[in-house]
């Protein structure tokens, strides 16, 4: 049983290869960017607003609101990263119901990539906001002996972020595969619906955690 889309190689030249993960990622990206482009090229400022524009506005506003509540800061700076994380994971997970589509988030490489992005983004935002020295100083809080633990905490949470998403999505796919071989009728459909729920929740959790990490790395005292 082939559950890892990394292993489906579509094209390879030496170490450079195009696997299903990348292909499906591009599909999701095309869908997101294309949809956004089609909707936002005809934005109307005044009423009446198209339903799709309204949907996008609702998403953006809600993400903004969540960021604002979590960070207690202006959400504009974090919106592209957190919003994109949510949208990418959400669309990938929801598309899992499409037969033949393997969500890129079911690949540990993708989730690792996302977690690493967050791992890099946290200090960038922190340094940008409070400066390098003050940012580094907080790893020595409450005292310098806590430095290794803080670093381990930083790494472990990145690892947890990656594995959590991967585990949830991959497990969903695996469970669906297993159930399909045992009870091919009806039950896998219920599991698919459950998978939609799980995928949505995971997208939300991943985004929220990323924001929490970023917010925790940028002291509010500033």
């Amino acid at each position: 049983m082939l559950n890892n889309p990394d292993q489906i190689i579509l094209w390879q030249y030496d170490v450079i290869k195009i696997n299903a993960t990348l292909a499906f990622t591009w599909a999701v990206m095309a869908l997101l960017v294309g949809g956004s482009f089609l909707i936002t090229r005809r934005l109307s400022v005044d009423a009446p607003i198209s339903r799709l524009q309204n949907l996008l506005e609702v998403i953006v506003v809600e993400v903004d609101k969540q960021i604002g509540e979590l960070s207690q800061q202006q959400p504009e700076r974090y919106l592209p990263l957190i919003g994109t994380l949510f949208l990418f994971i959400f669309v990938s997970n929801v598309l899992a119901v499409v037969p033949g589509f393997m969500p890129p988030t079911g690949s540990l490489s993708t989730t690792t990539a996302l977690a690493l992005t967050v791992f890099i983004a946290v200090p960038i935002y922190g340094i940008y906001r409070v400066g390098l020295w003050r940012y580094l100083k907080q790893y020595c809080q409450p005292n310098v002996f806590m430095l290794p633990f803080n670093i381990i905490g930083e790494l472990s949470r990145t690892l947890a972020l990656a594995v959590r998403l991967y585990g949830n999505i991959m497990s969903g796919t695996v469970v669906a595969g297993i159930l399909l071989s045992i009870t091919p009728l009806f039950f896998p459909i219920a599991m698919q619906v459950l998978g939609l729920l799980t995928g949505t929740i995971q997208a939300y959790i991943f985004s929220i955690l990323a924001m929490v990490y970023i917010a925790s790395a940028t002291p509010k005292s500033e």
């Binding site: 990622t25 956004s36 524009q53 990539a113 690493l116 992005t117």
Partner: protein
């Protein structure tokens, strides 16, 4: 649980590209549109507030004007009423004055007409009385009255003052003929009485007796271009003068 590090790197790049693309095609336009809408709403709200405040101000102005108008209306009405009352009083006064003047004129005219009428009546009464008196005296005039008249005339001549007596005597003596005029023909006794009296007064050559019916009753002596007479007409004329004097 194998991690393909090439895929990891590629996915990171993909994700960054996705962030950039979504920022360009999704977040920025949507945020911009929402900000524009919000700004538009704020502007519209401000406009509405401005218009509301303007409307409120206009309403206040209007109400104030209305109150002013009401007040003015009352003032104007009061003033007009006062003016009308004053005019009415003045007109009434003027009419009253005019009426009084008219009444005065009417009274004067009335008085004048009454006076005229009184005058006319008095005149007519006097004339009628005189005529009646004359007529009565004419009716009464006869020979015996004539006799008395002659005697009365002769007594009057005798009672004339001295200077008049001398004038009479001179006139009788100078003239050739003395004329005695009466209404009724004098009888011989009367004529001789007159002739005797004349002879006693002065030497008279001739006495001529004549008649004149215009005399109501009376007698006239003419001599030397002068005349002496006793005539009821004279008394009547004096009475007429006396009667009509107050009416002139």
């Amino acid at each position: 649980m194998a991690i393909d590090w090439f895929t990891v790197g590629a996915q990171m790049i993909n994700f960054l590209i996705l962030i950039w693309l979504l920022k360009k095609f999704l977040y920025r336009p949507i945020v911009k549109a929402m900000a524009s809408r919000e700004q538009g709403l704020v502007d519209r709200l401000q406009l509405v507030e401005t218009q509301m405040s303007e409307a409120e101000q206009l309403k206040k102005q209007y109400e104030s004007s209305l109150q002013q108008l009401d007040s003015d209306k009352d003032d104007i009405l009061t003033e007009a009423r006062q003016q009308a009352e004053t005019d009415r009083t003045l007109q009434l006064q003027s009419l009253n004055d005019e009426l009084q003047q008219e009444k005065k004129r009417f009274d004067q005219e009335m008085h004048r007409q009454q006076q005229q009428l009184g005058n006319v009546i008095n005149r007519v009464v006097a004339e009628k009385a005189l005529q009646l008196g004359g007529r009565i005296l004419s009716g009464l005039a006869d020979q015996s009255l004539e006799q008395q008249i002659v005697e009365h005339f002769l007594q009057n001549l005798a009672k004339l003052p001295d200077d008049e007596q001398s004038v009479l005597q001179k006139a009788i003596s100078q003239d050739d003929a003395v004329t005695v005029i009466s209404r009724f023909p004098l009888n011989e006794t009367q004529r001789s009485k007159i002739r005797d009296w004349l002879d006693q007064s002065a030497a008279v050559s001739e006495v001529v007796f004549e008649r004149d019916k215009r005399l109501i009753c009376g007698i006239t002596l003419e001599a030397g271009g002068r005349s002496w007479e006793w005539n009821i007409d004279r008394y009547l004329a004096e009475l007429e003068v006396e009667l009509l004097k107050p009416l002139e």
